[in-house]
Symmetry: C2
């Protein structure tokens, strides 16, 4: 069934508005703009990310996965700031105003949005090449946001979850090989550690979400904080599927993208970090230390030091088309 | 010159960040998300609009006009809520990461952003078919937003500026005819009455921005408010160029799109409205009355009444390709 823009918005509105109740929404979808109330003592945190067909997802990807991922990548950004996600706007560019496509999209959006209490408050739809832009707004206690520029020499460096799974899934897909379910989920349905992100203000000196690969993203923390980082390649957390498929592919762990895990630095001792992680059902792994200098250096299993460029790893072409 | 995504963002950041100083920005471009502080006693107002090449602007349109319009259409939405614009995020999808294109884009963005004190606080860039998505955030005093659902029977109905200019420009362009400068400006560089919008909370019972054509947009107010509207076709404000080209094209005035003027209802007397308008250098015209019933009816010059559909006007194909 083909719909007008008004029909599309109405269907989106009906599909999602009742799903998340939020008394802070003064005006939701359906006016010129939405009006929401930020809680007293909180600042507003805003992220935006766009997924384009053929670039961030393959043509023909199921709409539910696209919706899930479009929300997830923004949840990941807010988690890295230590923020609580609240409200989203959605800009949908669709080749065809197809009702079935939209229903599937909503079906992929809702569970993740409900899980994290994210209300859709506005959006627009346009005819054009398939592209999904989500802006996510959240709150953080005044002054408690976690940025990239606070890392201190002597801090330990940690990541949540496992690395490299999405990059490996993409590699297998591009090679027309079978993709284990857990790896496919990591690529298509990432689940950023939102609950753990809310704990970051009490523990992290700096944080970033791992979306462009650990080395690149940790490099941003180093650059912003004026420090260097040493990471122990053997300590990088790997999933069972990753270990089974490519046990020695350290470079993919450190350079692969689309992880949507958190990398953070902390001055707290390891026990405190592990206890906080346990309370949120997220695994965390200490992978290195903040050091004097600049850039990210890799400590290999034999104790030798290599820059990430020297690992001989050919950068992924992450284009999905 | 072709740039990487990081280069694009850096160039955007350098180009625009220093342009608008705003102490409410706690973290701007360059982290996982931006952090801003909404003023006490204010609610946050959020609009999002996407412009796609071939749909909202012709292929080959100069980047400065695209930037101006992408911001203007959102300023128009915030003005219609009675809000003060503050912060924007930008999602740019570009076929080529061209430095010159981006510089032109920034050159078109900056003057309008500076005029209205809008700071760019975040964004992302992606390779893909040309598309520009802007989300604009602003503030309104708690409880003072102007929505579509407050119109009362007996209110007068007004519009700012003139109508039909952009629709006429598009018509001339599509017919390969010369377009007078003022009409071309209306299409490519709309200037929504942002200052007047800030006055709406003190005067309007309901308001909307005229983007899909007066009849359609006033129809939204009627639907949301549970009222009808009578508009006097002879009173619809026309520019000198419009009068010169198509003096009797009432239907284009009432149905043409892309006006980015404000339509509002008020219970105040005409003198009060005119005085407020004068203080903001915006012209306003009383065009009709809120009445019992539903939908928009047109009063023609001979006093006869027609529904807007009966004017014999063929809906524009507003696709620009």
């Amino acid at each position: 069934m083909s719909l007008s823009e008004f029909d599309l918005i109405a269907r989106l509105r009906e599909g999602v508005v009742s799903a998340v109740h939020d008394s802070a929404i003064i005006e939701g979808i359906g006016d010129d703009a939405a009006v929401v109330r930020v809680r007293e003592g909180h600042d507003l945190v805003v992220a935006v990310d766009t997924l384009v067909e053929g670039r961030h997802f393959f043509a023909g990807t199921d709409p539910a996965s696209i919706a899930h991922k479009a929300l997830a990548v923004n949840l990941s950004d807010l988690a890295a700031m230590g923020a609580v996600p609240r409200w989203a706007t959605l800009s949908l560019t669709l080749p065809n105003a197809d009702a079935g496509w939209l229903d599937d999209f909503i079906a992929g959006w809702l569970p993740l949005a409900q899980q994290h209490g994210v209300a859709l408050i506005g959006g627009d739809t346009t005819a054009g090449p398939l592209s999904v832009s989500v802006q996510l707004m959240g709150e953080v206690l005044v002054g408690k946001q976690v940025s990239r520029h606070g890392a201190n020499v002597g801090d330990s460096i940690w990541v949540t979850g496992t690395l490299g799974d999405a990059a490996l899934a993409l590699h297998l897909l591009n090679a027309d090989k079978a993709v284990p379910t857990a790896l496919a989920e990591a690529l298509h349905r990432p689940r950023p550690p939102v609950g753990f992100g809310r704990q970051l203000p009490t523990l992290a000196s700096a944080a970033i979400d791992v979306s462009d690969g650990l080395a690149a993203d940790l490099g941003h923390i180093c650059h912003a904080s004026g420090v260097g980082a040493s990471i122990y390649m053997e300590s990088l957390p790997r999933s069972a599927d990753f270990n089974h498929q490519v046990p020695d592919d350290w470079a993919r762990l450190a350079l692969g993208g689309d992880d949507y895990q958190l990398c953070f630095c902390t001055g707290l001792d390891d026990t405190a970090v592990l206890q906080l992680a346990e309370s949120t059902d997220v695994s965390v792994t200490r992978i290195g230390d903040v050091v004097d200098g600049s850039g990210v250096q890799c400590i290999l299993s034999d104790g030798s030091i290599a820059s990430i460029e020297d690992t001989g790893f050919d950068h992924f072409n992450r284009k999905q088309s």
